[in-house]
């Protein structure tokens, strides 16, 4: 499944990195601890987090993640958005809590 395919189904907003919307999704990882993501997330995963600063995109890029979903309508910092566009890794935004959006994404990916 591509990043573009989950947007409508999960009611996500595309905040930045539109050019990366055809990245293929291999799964997802949920964490707000950056070293946890660095050590344990895998290539092609969607990262669900409440962190909005630009180190999120540095990690997403180093780990070749498919996209980042920010929860609870949290707004990305300006330099996070810039980094997302440069790296072509989308930042998506959800109004839902981490639990709810992770549950929905899990169901969607398990369905495939």
């Amino acid at each position: 499944m591509k990043v573009s395919e989950i947007i409508d189904q999960l009611g996500l907003k595309v905040i930045a990195g539109e050019k990366g919307l055809d990245r293929e999704i291999s799964g997802a990882y949920v964490s707000d601890l950056l070293s946890d993501v660095m050590g344990n997330a895998r290539e092609g995963q969607i990262w669900i987090t409440l962190q909005v600063h630009q180190n999120v995109m540095a990690i997403a890029s180093l780990k070749d993640l498919a996209a980042v979903i920010l929860v609870k309508d949290l707004e990305a910092n300006a330099n996070t958005i810039q980094h997302s566009n440069e790296e072509q890794i989308p930042i998506l935004s959800s109004s839902l809590s981490t639990f709810d959006i992770a549950g929905k994404l899990h169901a969607l990916l398990a369905d495939k």
Binding site: D32, L33, L34, S35, D36, M38, G39, E43, T49, Q51, H53, Q54, N55, A58, I59, S61, L62, K63, N79
Partner: protein, 136 residues
Amino acid sequence: MELDFSIEGGDFTQAGQASSRVKKVLKQLGVDAKCIKSIVIALYEAEVNVVAHAYKGQIHIQIDKDKIQTLITDEGPGIPDIAMAMTEGFSTASKKVREMGFGAGMGLPNIKKNTDELKIDSVVGQSTTVSMVNYF
């Protein structure tokens, strides 16, 4: 091939730049993808530790046919008990750093897991030196 970078303590906007550059170089050299992943994890964590815990630092990297050697030297508070610092969950990160999602005490364990050789030396009140080797 040799690469050098400087790191400013406290400047999180720069954190990861050296790792990103090294990742690109290793890709161009055709190094095994799994090996690059490990090196990137270890280098990023070492880079962030200088930003989060020290005042300033230098990265010196030497890439040979069969391995990459990385030396990260900083001026900073040093590490009084290295064995303790290596324990998963141990962290002295400030509240501000923790709020950013750093300070889980997972960085040094990540480095250990993702390097073939690791040596940490420190002079308390002065400096820390992290030396790592990965074979391709």
